[in-house]
């Protein structure tokens, strides 16, 4: 499936291991959360970059001690209407300061990409349609945002506040 990373189509360079799959000699490996919990000490000693695939009903706090060791966290949207991963992403990117790749998978559709990016996702596993239908254009549909999130956009609330401060201090 195509992968979007930093608003471009790229190859996925990660191997995503099934729970019963042996560890290959590969530079980037992801495992399920269950496997991570069972085998984290052994996995952490590998030379590979590591990633965890987190279900959307597990608190990101569970990964807090490991964030420095992880290069990838995959969050899931089992149905695009199930929005729990938006909160997980914000917590990981914002409060917990995760600096690696934060990837969305599952039912990831064009019209949710911008919401996801704002919540801190920087990678998106999408369907084949994404290329033909030019889903990258979705990232450019808005450049005005009202509320702060985990992207670097200056929200309108903030822009106005700065303006208000100038107005009120000058007076």
């Amino acid at each position: 499936m195509p992968l979007i990373r930093n608003e471009r189509f790229v190859m996925d360079t990660w191997r995503h291991l099934a729970d019963d799959e042996g560890v290959p000699d590969a530079p980037r490996l992801s495992v399920s959360y269950v496997r991570w919990i069972e085998q984290r000490n052994a996995l952490a000693m590998l030379p590979a970059s590591l990633g965890v695939r987190l279900p959307n009903d597990v608190s990101p706090q569970k990964l807090a001690p490991d964030l420095g060791r992880l290069g990838l966290i995959v969050l899931t949207f089992p149905r695009f209407t199930d929005g729990r991963a938006y909160s997980q992403a914000r917590l990981l990117r914002g409060r917990l300061g995760f600096a690696g790749e934060l990837r969305a998978e599952g039912e990831v559709l064009r019209d949710q990409l911008l919401f996801m990016r704002r919540c801190g996702f920087d990678a998106f596993t999408v369907s084949e349609r994404a290329v033909a239908e030019d889903w990258l254009a979705a990232f450019r549909e808005f450049d005005v945002f009202y509320q702060p999130a985990e992207d670097r956009e200056m929200p309108v609330l903030r822009r106005r506040l700065e303006a208000a401060r100038r107005h009120f201090t000058v007076a």
């Binding site: 695009f80 914000r90 019209d111 949710q112 808005f142 450049d143 009202y146 509320q147 822009r159």
Partner: protein, 549 residues
């Protein structure tokens, strides 16, 4: 009123462009209905029995005359010449074509309006007191906070796919005219012991299949922390609200299952861990927003003059209308006027394009160009000089907008029901029409009586909080109505109790007449219906209704 700046204008243009492309992709087959449906719902577009229905946002029920005229223009150009005002202070059009909706949204954007998030599983219209800024019992004007919440909640990236819809109401007065306690989050402006104004925060209210009154989660939060606290509540709901069962997915269910104490613990823990700086509302931010909602000029208007006095004497309808449809304004010599959209026999809450133009003209001529929408499906002119009331009344009367029935029995609240709505089990409009016609002759004798009718359990007619509530149900293909009694939407909020077995459509008028007869016989000392009901209980009503025929 709030005025868009360049940010708002740009945002709304981007939204219209986005939606236009979504419609193009749907009509071209690039989006399935399953993919498109949440997108059109996020722009207020439903597919109903006869056509699409567009629900347009009227933020906290406030309209300028220019906006109201544009709604009339939309009614004429793209609908059948009328619109329907709703119990959440919005307006709906019932005869819309999908292919024309991008143009309609563009027409709305011209007057700083939109249909964003009037449906879908995200924040809906934040509603408030239709008398905000004008009422004598007001602690502080809630509208700046409504506008702050509206903007913060618009296309919120984290909370656009909640388990279910989310409704917030704010009240700034001693009397709750916003039905705060039946909202997912309710906010009361309060003064604490130190004299500081802040908010009491309630959570978990709602109607529908499981009606519940909201409980207080925080007695007092300073204004500065309002948004961050709301965000904390939403983050808990987004993560833990049920998603397995459509009928158990509102926040009220989460609050019931955790209990308010544990809900509070979760929210307070989240709030404590949050970075408050990002969402803090310092005084300058609030002052900047408050500039758009200046208090009325405190200079009193001239005292009632000869014209006013003469009208009272010689035109009996005028005196009744003043008594019933006007409320005291905080500035002497002014009044708050409610425009009744409830002429008995007509559809409650409906308004023609011509009537919209007339109300806009009256607002311009007599009332600073501002109109409000109430959650009882009426309109309000929030500030009219008393000496102008005779002229206003005559103009309204000529347009069939002067029925003197505010708070009376024929001021029925009714959802569109099975005549329009795909969710309904039974019709509500014809029932409302028959009841209003039947009760109008004695409604002044009855006094305050709130009758609310819903065509299905979704309760858009707010029947649970009617003094008399009617819920349409389908029994073997026939329309029946379940009657509830004793509900109330004010600060003493209460949910109505079912009086007995549902009655057939043709028996509704007789049943309500019987209930009213019992009330009139048993009430004492100026009791309104809810007080009498609380005192005497269900039995006298039940006995009278179901006595052997």
């Amino acid at each position: 009123m709030y005025r868009y700046d360049s940010f708002d204008t740009r945002f709304i243009a981007e939204r219209v462009a986005q939606y236009r492309d979504q419609v193009r992709r749907r009509l071209a087959g690039q989006l399935t209905e399953e993919e498109f449906r949440p997108l059109r719902l996020m722009n207020g577009l439903y597919l109903q029995l006869h056509a699409y229905m567009l629900r347009i946002a009227i933020p906290y029920g406030t309209l300028s005359s220019r906006q109201l005229r544009q709604l009339g223009h939309i009614a004429r150009t793209w609908d059948r010449g009328f619109g329907h005002f709703t119990t959440r202070q919005n307006i709906q059009f019932h005869w819309i074509k999908l292919e024309e909706t991008p143009d309609i949204l563009a027409a709305l954007a011209e007057v700083e309006m939109h249909a964003i998030q009037t449906s879908g599983n995200s924040f809906r219209n934040t509603t408030t007191d239709p008398f905000a800024g004008a009422a004598i019992d007001e602690i502080e004007d809630p509208r700046p906070y409504c506008e702050i919440i509206r903007q913060w909640s618009t296309l919120h990236p984290e909370f656009s796919f909640l388990p279910r819809k989310f409704k917030i109401a704010v009240s700034g007065a001693a009397n709750d005219r916003a039905a705060v306690r039946v909202h997912d989050i309710g906010l009361y402006l309060r003064r604490n012991a130190a004299g500081e104004v802040g908010f009491e925060v309630l959570v978990g209210g709602g109607l529908g299949r499981t009606p519940i009154l909201a409980e207080t989660i925080r007695d007092f939060i300073p204004k500065r922390d309002l948004l961050s606290y709301i965000e904390a509540i939403l983050r808990i709901y987004n993560q833990y609200g049920r998603r397995d069962n459509l009928y158990k997915s509102r926040i009220k269910i989460l609050v019931q299952s955790l209990g308010i104490a544990r809900m509070r613990d979760e929210v307070e823990a989240e709030w404590t861990a949050m970075d408050h700086a990002a969402l803090a509302l310092p005084d300058e931010a609030i002052a900047e927003m408050a500039q758009f909602f200046p208090p009325p000029d405190p200079a009193p208007a001239p005292a009632d003059d000869d014209g006013f006095g003469a009208a009272l004497e010689t035109e009996p309808g005028f005196a009744r209308w003043v008594e019933q449809n006007t409320a005291p304004h905080k500035v002497r010599g002014h009044a708050i006027v409610t425009i009744s959209l409830k002429e008995p026999g007509l559809t409650p809450g409906d308004c023609t394009a011509e009537q919209m133009d007339l109300v806009a003209d009256l607002a311009d001529r007599y009332g600073q160009g501002e109109i409000r929408v109430t959650h009882e499906q009426n309109l309000v002119l929030p500030q009219i000089r008393r000496v102008d009331l005779p002229s206003v009344w005559r103009a309204l009367g000529a347009a069939r907008l002067a029925t003197a029935n505010v708070a009376l029995a024929s001021n029925i609240i009714a959802c569109p029901g099975l005549d329009y709505c795909g969710l309904a089990n039974a019709r509500s409009i014809p029932v409302a029409q028959r009841l209003a016609v039947a009760l109008a002759p004695r409604e002044r004798e009855i006094g305050d009586l709130q009758i609310k009718i819903s065509g299905c359990i979704n309760a858009c007619g707010h029947h649970h909080v009617g003094h008399i509530g009617l819920l349409g149900v389908d029994k073997n293909g026939e329309e029946f109505y379940q009657i509830t009694l004793g509900g109330s939407a004010d600060a003493n909020a209460a949910l109505g109790a079912i009086v007995g077995p549902a009655v057939k459509s043709e028996d509704v008028v007789h049943s309500v007449d019987t209930i009213v007869d019992v009330y009139l016989k048993l009430r004492t000392g100026g009791e309104r219906f809810p007080e009498t009901y609380r005192r005497v209980g269900n039995k006298p009503f039940k006995d009278a209704l179901y006595a052997a025929h």
